[in-house]
Amino acid sequence: MDDGAALILVKQDVDVVLARQRGRELAAQAGFTGSNLTLIATAISEIARNIVVYAGQGELVISLAQDHERRGIKVVGSDQGPGIPDIKLAMQDGYSTGRSLGLGLPGARRLMDDFEIFSEPGVGTTITMWKWLPS
């Protein structure tokens, strides 16, 4: 991939660690500093784990983002897993069908600035999230 972007295949727990480390590097490259780097790495960790736990495998694409005057980082996590039947429910704190606290998706949304989720049962899930550099 181009400089400033990374594609990470996510299949097992070691990939979750790899993804968040790569995300931290790219976020630093984008100009983020201090606690923002940790927020981004933590959000990536949550959605990468969701892929491993619920879909078995998928991929993350992390890239530098630009929107008008804003610059930042964009993270897309996608899988061809079972999908999320009720997104509204899945985005609620404390809701989980897996082995988690149910803070993964709503937590990741709080850590980032913008968050979109698209999911279709039997087809898969795509989560896109952005963090913008403080102006």
Binding site: V17, L37, E46, L101, G107
Partner: protein, 122 residues
């Protein structure tokens, strides 16, 4: 990588020295639960000062370690949570209620030694 567990007096000390996978974290939890019996430990310190991300799974596993240790008769202090990590945990919605924390190893050991056993965890 596995986390080395050291024994100092009646305290087990686990220093997490790098980012851990979920599997490695679960392994640490199990080894500490075993170690408390093997070494007749009454205290546990988990040093996470080298950890750069504590997400929902990491925090949940730390909680498990604390409560499993308590059921095994040992009190745990989590030490060294970095400022950025603490900020991210709060943003995620993770609190460490009922869990003793301390700034660093020295404070953690002091806390374990200062609190009378019967009153710990209250």
């Amino acid at each position: 990588m596995t986390v080395p567990i050291l024994k100092q007096g009646s305290v087990l000390i686990a220093c997490v020295q790098s980012a851990l996978t979920d599997g490695e974290l679960s392994q640490l939890r199990d080894e500490l639960a075993q170690g408390i019996g093997r070494y007749r430990a009454t205290g546990v310190i988990v040093d996470v000062s080298a950890v750069d991300v504590l997400d929902s799974f990491g925090s949940r596993t730390l909680r498990s370690i604390v409560f499993i240790a308590r059921l095994r008769g040992a009190e745990t202090v989590v030490v060294g949570i970095q400022p950025e990590v603490a900020y991210a945990m709060v943003q995620l919605g993770l609190t460490m209620e009922g869990i003793a924390t301390a700034l660093d190893m020295e404070e953690g050991l002091a806390l374990l030694h200062a609190v009378p056993r019967a009153r710990r965890g209250v």
